[in-house]
């Protein structure tokens, strides 16, 4: 039986009736048509579907949409403002932190809170932060460089979804 849920996604409120078995990842993609969130392994290993749930990175393929009732979700669509890539996205672009791009939304949503926190991280700490995301193209080196560059840039007011 479908259940009514109400949640905030990228600053907008949504009300929907969903089946309890609907995954949060499918809800985001199929119900809200926010297809920036990608679905890779669908059992919590690859990290492609990472979104922010109440501000913290989680894998949306191992959460149910009904569990998001009353909560807030941020997806990759919230990062660019007015068609302008944010600092983290720009760094991925400039450092060649992506090739096919399939894993990129998951990396970005994992890393946005890290960039927001603004703490300088060593390469090892960056690798630890992205340990839950798989990329089959880059070999990770350019992703680590992109994060370093994003962390080195001066802070701007571009926190996920505050605009």
């Amino acid at each position: 039986m479908k259940r009514e849920i109400e949640l905030e996604v990228n600053g907008d409120r949504y009300q929907r009736a969903v089946e309890p078995r609907m995954l949060l990842s499918d809800f985001i993609r199929h119900e809200l048509r926010l297809t920036g969130t990608h679905v890779g392994c669908e059992h919590g290993v690859c990290g492609a579907c990472t979104v922010l749930f109440d501000g913290e990175p989680v894998r949306s393929c191992v959460m149910l949409a009904v569990q998001a009732d009353g909560h807030s979700v941020r997806t990759v669509e919230s990062l660019a403002q007015g068609g302008q890539l944010n600092r983290l996205q720009r760094a991925f672009n400039e450092c060649h932190g992506l090739q096919c791009g399939f894993c990129t939304p998951g990396f970005l949503m994992t890393l946005q809170p890290v960039v927001d926190e603004g703490k300088q991280l060593s390469d090892d700490e960056i690798r630890d932060a992205i340990s839950g995301n798989i990329c089959r193209c880059t070999g990770y080196q350019q992703i680590v460089e992109a994060v370093s560059q994003a962390l080195a840039e001066p802070q701007e007011d571009e926190r996920a979804g505050t605009a």
Partner: protein, 296 residues
Amino acid sequence: MKPPLFDYEAPSTVEDAARLLAEGGEDAKLLAGGQSLIPLLNLRFAAPSLLIDLNGVDGLGQIRAEDGQLRLGALVRHSTVAGDPLVADRHPLLSEAMGYVAHPQIRNRGTIGGTTAHADPAAEVPVVLLMSDARVVARSTRGRREIGVDDLFVSIFTTSLEPDEIISEVIIPDRAVEPGTAVGSSFQEFARRHGDYAIGGAAAIVHLGPDGVCRSARVGLLGAGMRPEESRAAAAVLESGTFSERAAREAAAVATTDISPLGNVHGDPDYRREVIREMTFRAVMTAADKAKARIA
């Protein structure tokens, strides 16, 4: 894949959750962090008739220190345990182990009650709880009881919980350390990718006196068999005298002589036994070094 059909309830009290679980029968399942259960649903290894979501239940999310013990609500997330100063102060082995529990995204959802009830022999938390003489509080419509984790872990993914019981709390007693002596602990794990399912791992707690004599020791093994394992024989080797590298080597050998790790594509049982032996050696050595540093 997608989960099979199920009914869903989200109670707000432990009493309501217990009632739903009792009424739901054996096919009803509790949902905590969901980081093991939902993958099992997605892969259709599990098909519960009813999911009872504990995430909205009041009062299961706190960590409290009282009467010489630490009480962790079942819904405390791994990321909270990892950053909690009370845990770091009283049970540094648990804090250290948290760094090996999957990846940041999983630690933001996974819970201490969930991983305990899941009883995976290769998981980090159950082994640490076993080595810490922890107990769980089990609640049901029939009442409340405490179960020591040694009695709780029966076999792979199998506990002694009755089908209508809910783990509401995990209780870890403080460790007694006389003045002049010191305890060190260490967690060691080998995996293909940090945070992935361990090929093998071990943890050690070593209590040394000022004379370098080992007062007591605990040695835990990950992925060594059908349940979280502790080696009393290895501890006895260490407790037989002054701590030395040779004793650590012998303890690691004794700990892994009779274990039966399951083989998989990443390692056959013999290889995994070797890995666990080396991890045991490193854990014992590192734990002893930390204890020595505290005495010095």
